[in-house]
Symmetry: C2
Subunit: 210 residues, 2 copies
């Protein structure tokens, strides 16, 4: 299955000009002028291009989500997040290949692996901040997972401080308190809830930390 619509040039959008200001291994910053299908007006916009990512919700046999605690340099904080990693080949949006990347990231970042008879379910994709970047993430559910024999092997630069499995009530509470506060984890939780694959129930806090 191809997820063509996510990456190919969308119909009716016309590029008038594009000027690149900065480019390195991680991102490209350009000013583009484009005309949309709906309007006659030309939009002039600063755009940051990034590789796509895979984002995986690893579900254990006892219904817990495996999260990593990861240092994030741009915000100078460590967050509890679902495992994720970038896709090296931007044109390779074949779902099976993305699922394989998701399982590799899972193993590297958490040491967990898909159990015998387990499955990887594609849950669609999302855009992290479409007002300024084309970055998108492809969501996958991996169920069930269990600690593998070989342990985790995160790249040194990833700075993963901890890894733990959390039950749905804990996940809901961490969303309410803001311990979970990244788009990947909130986004995949919304997907899982809407699909009936995760219940966050009603964790009603009267006036606690938001």
């Amino acid at each position: 299955m191809k997820l063509k619509s996510a990456l190919s040039a969308p119909e009716g959008w016309e590029t008038i000009s594009a000027e690149t200001h900065f480019e390195d291994a991680h991102l490209t910053v350009s000013t583009v002028e484009v005309r949309s299908p709906e309007g006659l007006k030309v939009h002039r916009w600063t755009v940051v291009r990034r590789k796509a990512a895979v984002i995986v919700a690893p579900l254990t046999a006892d219904g817990k989500l495996v999260l990593i605690r990861q240092e994030r340099v741009p915000i100078r904080a460590a967050l509890w997040e679902v495992p994720a990693g970038q896709v090296d080949d931007a044109n390779d949006t074949d779902t099976d290949k993305l699922a394989a990347v998701a399982l590799r990231e899972l193993r590297e970042e958490t040491g967990y692996e898909l159990s015998e008879g387990g499955e990887v379910l594609p849950l669609g994709h999302f855009f992290s901040s479409p007002g300024f970047t084309d970055e998108q993430g492809f969501f996958f559910l991996a169920r069930t997972v269990a600690p593998g024999a070989s342990g985790s092997s995160p790249a040194e630069s990833e700075s993963i401080l901890d890894c733990r499995a959390f039950g749905p009530e804990e996940i809901a509470s961490m969303i309410v308190t803001g311990e979970i506060r990244d788009a990947n984890t909130l986004g995949i939780c919304a997907k899982l809830v809407a699909r009936g694959l995760l219940s966050l129930d009603a964790q009603v806090f009267s006036d606690g930390p938001a």
Copy 2:
């Protein structure tokens, strides 16, 4: 109430160097070298700085969420999203002032206003892609809202194509199908569900579009 932790310099993080490559009215791209509290290793990282945003979930008296359909130049697509807007003063993270910005964006983008006796509930903040940008969004629930007398007045550059109110079942279905696929809307939905303020129920689709 101040949301200090979100923006102030976090304890233990040491900046060793910072080189700015590009800067315009919308973003700043730098390479930074920092040392985290946990490690002796120096991280060298490309960081994109952006203004913070306010993101508002407008709930009508009949329990529907008001969404706008907005053209997004970086991804060349129009998405159904909750209203949102940038905060001009990065240091002004006073919740009451952010709530006022949220209501202004709501009025400008949708024409909806807070009803008599309505409230704006802060739901915390999130990071859109903390692997490369410090951009964060502050979530608010505005309830209840109703169409105002003066209608919407979006800035011309915003390219809002449509505005409609959707019930929870429609929202869940749009998340499943991918019609809703931006971090702001998925993120605030996860927050609302975890707080018991929105029910997305179980919209179980056997093997439909993900």
